[in-house]
Amino acid sequence: VCLLAALLRPDHAVAANTAKATIADAGVKFQRGLVLLRFRVDGAFTPEMVEAIQSGLPTVFKFQLRLFRDLDKVPDERVYASQLDRTIVYDTLRQQYDVSTGDDHWTAKSLDEAERLMTRLDDIAVALVAGLDPESRYYAIVKAELAEVRLPFVLSFLRSFVQIWDFETPWTRIEIPAREAAK
């Protein structure tokens, strides 16, 4: 029974490669009447993940953003929430990385460039400056995680057993100086 339980453990087949990914260089700026966030994910690209990506496996990063109004005695009010996906696919023939969001598409010839495209988010609008109450405190939390590694059909059953190169950053808080934005 113990053997069975051990074998059925989801992360048994591949050693836990959960990267110790973190959010870095997080910040906010106000431009064109928008509240724009920026941050970077460090430590997401482990050697195993790079190997998987370079084997042609489409890999998706998921970024979650939440904007809250800080309240004292009641739970904080969620003002905004969104999720962004970035997908990277390596073309082994042409030796280039295709990074795409829902709307945009980039091609990178080098891994560094591809990594930067995947892990760097700049000028992500989360609110209108005008929509913020200058007298309130606001903050945003962001998190990045591996959404999916699309296995080929013949290997998709391995999903039952493995949790591949997972990473998940902790929620990182970014203070929004609403009063400053109003100026």
Binding site: L7, T92, E148, R150
Partner: protein, 743 residues
Amino acid sequence: MTAHDPRPDLSLDARRRRNEIRIMLGIAAALAILFTGEYLFYRTRGVYPYGLNLVFFGLINVNVVLIITLLFLILRNVTKLVFEGRRKVFGSKLRTKLVAAFVGFATAPTVLFFYVSQTFVTSAIDRWFNIQVEGALGRSLEVARTYYKSIEEESRRTASRTADRLTGSPLLAPDRQADLIAALDEVVATEGAARVVYKSAAGDTVVKSKTSHLPKNVKSRVPDALARKGLNGETASDLETVRGTELVYGVAPVYADAARREVAGTVIATLLVPREMVGKAEEIRRSFEEYKQLKVMQTPIKASYLILLVLISLLIFFSATWFGFYLSRGFVRPVERLAAATRKVADGDLDFRLPVESSDEFGQLTDAFNTMTADLAASKEETLYVNRELEAGRRYRDTVLKVIPAGVMSLDPEGRIVTANTEVMRMLQFSDPDPVGKPFDRVLVRHHQEVVADLLRESRETGAETVMRQADVSVRDRILSVTISCTRLADDDGRPIGSVLVLDDLTELLRAQRMAAWQEVARRIAHEIKNPLTPIQLSAQRLQKRYADRLGEDGEVFADCTRMIVQQVEEMKQLVNEFSKFARMAEIKPTPNDLNEIVGEAILLYQEAHKRIAFTFERDVDLPVFRLDRDQVKRVLINILDNAVAAIAGTGQVVVTTRLQPETNAAILEVADTGVGIPREYRSRLFEPYFSTKRRGTGLGLAIVNRIVQDHNGYIRVRDNTPRGTIVSIEFPLGPKGRSRAA
């Protein structure tokens, strides 16, 4: 035949069905939980091809649920087996052995299967990822890449050659566009390009060549980034896939003069990758990527196969174990039922039958058991019948032996008693109330032992079938005259099987004969003597009257003689009267009487008449009224009291006792005196007529007493009193009425 009660089986079946329903519901619930869990788990993990894996998940779930179910069944059965083993339930040992055998037989092939499969899978997977395969695929991809590089190079060269031709060329003049197009068309025609475009330094497309090689649905556009590179004086190339068509762009700067100081524009040459080459290159790429992905997933693949192997192995192992339980139950249950049935039959229920539930060997065994039980029942019935007959015969024989007045005793060849009826035990005074099986010399007194041993010896020595002897045996205070016949017994083959002794008590017969003889004598004496007595007496009285006065002095003598004659004749008359009475003793007429009352009346007479003797009457107030001839019993008592008084010289004591003796259902009357007693040698003749120890006794008193007691079916015995005197003891049977009253 009593059919096997099906109710317990029905309830058992119902319980089993209920359990099966519970197990099925449990399996369904487990499947639902697993599916839901997996669905929720994967839903949280994003988009994935869940539906495609449904069959696989289903199989895994079914496997897991089956294993858990089997595990539950096995644990339940093992626990049950352990407890049954501890309680020493019938069949548990056999079940344990069978299950152990199945587990043992299942383990070896399962382990072997697992080992071989695991080795095979591991080596097969390792073979997939050997270096040669990877190298070949890598080299193929490298070829494809080289091809693409070469075609990019070609596009750049085409662009460069064209740019070189146009550098400083008058064709760049605005009024020579037609010539420029012709020149570009020539390039297309001679260089094999799909299209050649010239852009001016301002970035505007000035002219385009024909697009003869491009598919109709594909329009070659100039990538702005690439065009900018050309205008910046770089030579570059790029790839673009448009509607499944691979386009290769090469750019090169066109200078205004040969000195190449000023970029006048740029040439963009578009080459088309042949469709077949695209397909092949894509195929190579896909193969390589799949291989690389498989290699990346090597460990998970191995693990997944191992998990599957483990699941299948466990399934085989648990199935075999459960099958062992199932089969052992199939073996043991009929045996259990058969054993239970055997116990029932052993307990005497020969009507019990087992239902034949199958036609296999167990069915045949059950059928044979039922046949055997039926035969046993028939045999038992027959035996019971024979036993009943034998028992009836034995009872009849015992009854006969009990009621016959003769004593019967049979001995085996070793002298052990086989049968002995009540009469022989009474006659020979057995010391053991249960003499059967014991040697006769251990239960008989010495005198009787000698009598029996002599008889057996005589029978053995003479070889006669029957020998007979008359002997006197003393029973308590009586001497019995018996004839003992000893008959040798032999079986059908003539082998001796023992002897049978028959004792006939002739005492009463002899006594009756003597009594009859004496009565006849008495009658004749009375008849012969009584007749001349009266004339003698009258003659003597006449002689006295006539001659007493005449004889003078002799007259006194004469008177004395005649008086003597008259007196003696009178006495003789009395004697004769006694004889007559004895000879004419009337039949007794028993009526319900109180013995205490009769005794009290008799004692009262003697108390008045004999003041020197102390008469004591110790009566038993519980003595019932029973049938007695009042006058005759009073006569008996008077006779005995007469003897007692006569035996006491001077003062003395007479104690009369009545007593109920429940064990023999008799009333006991005892008269104990403190007289001179009776010598032992006289006792056997005490009750014979004309035997008297008194000087003037007729010898008829006790004979009459004995007669009256016998007429009442009673016994009279005489024994010594302590310290002196005699006790006469009379036993009157109470009969049925007396018994009921006494009770």
